[in-house]
Subunit: 207 residues, 2 copies
DNA sequence: CGGACCATTGGCCAGGTGGCCAATACGTCC
DNA sequence: GGACGTATTGGCCACCTGGCCAATGGTCCG
């Protein structure tokens, strides 16, 4: 392998970044050219180095991995980005793939799985960890919330009741109630409390 | 440094484990003698290798890091265990330190911070990341739920109402209501829905 | 252009919610 | 032994909840 694949690492966990860099640099197929601990720095380093493949953590404080991915792909539509995740929340996976990620690898994956994924990513293939594929299947069979419903969901999380939600959104309590009813049905929840819990499980709401 | 500090790594993220091992073995102060991807294996490897210091991830599928810590300390009360965390949820930190962890290091910490923490741990000092200390302060000022309240909290998460909770726990709906009222007050929540959301934020409930 | 989906709103109603008052009983800690 | 925290229970009440019925416009797609 004469020319190694040039990599950019974006992950807020410095320990993970250092570890990944050590591991990948030990393999002559790869060369980590830069590492960032937040999305903004990551974008800047991408412009500077134009890596072959970018490894991007999904969950980061500030601009999330997904947002970073969108920003990156908006500027460089052909960028090869492989998402790394610890959470495996379905929502993130679907959104990442929709936003043009080349693949989605769990941090629980074996190192060999990661290196294979990087090779595939550079070759333009789409790769998803086996453990993650099943999650996508689940998600496909469940419903998607509309943007209005997501908006209401965030207010439910804050403990708001229907009248207050209606007032805040400039609609009647009856409409707010209709949105809540739709959320309950789509998330298969008995009440708004379970709806919020399930939203956390699916990654619709984040800690 | 003639005799390196012998380390055991327990983390379900293989990538993180491999990375950590690479990084730490590059430093002659340390020698990673074993790595496990779940708590049970970790315990077995501890018995086998008796490492000087154990690095233990807080969140793992199956037996959690906290439970693993308790089991380990029950068997080897003098074990030096350093917790590694990605979530930084307050609850985990407090519980880990209460269960006898030597320290609690965020995965966002710089590598130097980690190596320093390992040295301190082996010296019997207690170390906590700066970023994590502030969280403990927050927690100290807030209230602790009783075990009964935690039990009720888990039922709220499932969308149960007071009569059903009472029935399940063998108490009246009035008592269930009293527990819920206590939860709301302690978590500073307007209703049970916000209580569940705040519980996720604090690490009392997990995805 | 008609169908599909969405956001919006209305009435009605049995049942649950959360806050207020107060009381008993059982442990532990000083 | 007494104070304290916890678990337990009661009544009362204004308010909110979620499910049922049905209807109106808007947009987007084939």
């Amino acid at each position: 392998m004469p020319t190694p694949i040039r990599l950019l690492l974006i992950d807020d966990h410095a320990v993970m970044r250092a570890g990944l860099a050590n591991m990948l640099n030990a393999n002559t197929d790869f060369k980590v050219v830069a590492g960032a601990d937040d999305a903004a720095t990551g974008l800047a380093l991408y412009r500077q180095h134009k890596p072959d493949v970018t490894l991007l953590d999904v969950s980061m404080p500030g601009m999330s991995g997904i947002e970073c991915l969108r920003a990156l792909r908006a500027e460089y539509p052909t960028a090869y980005v492989l998402m790394l995740s610890s959470s495996d929340a379905e929502e993130d996976i679907v959104q990442a793939l929709a936003a043009g990620a080349c693949g989605y690898v769990s941090k629980s994956a074996r190192p060999a799985e990661l290196t294979a994924a990087i090779h595939d990513a550079q070759a333009g293939k789409r790769v998803v960890s086996a453990a993650i594929e099943s999650r996508i299947a689940e998600h496909a069979s469940s419903s998607t919330l509309t943007s209005r419903e997501i908006e209401v969901l965030h207010l439910l999380r804050k403990g708001m009741n229907n009248p207050d939600i209606g007032h805040l959104l400039g609609i009647t309590r009856r409409t707010a109630k209709a949105h809540v009813a739709a959320i309950l049905q789509k998330l298969d929840a008995a009440d708004r409390t379970e709806a919020v819990a399930r939203a956390f499980e699916r990654g619709l709401l984040k800690v």
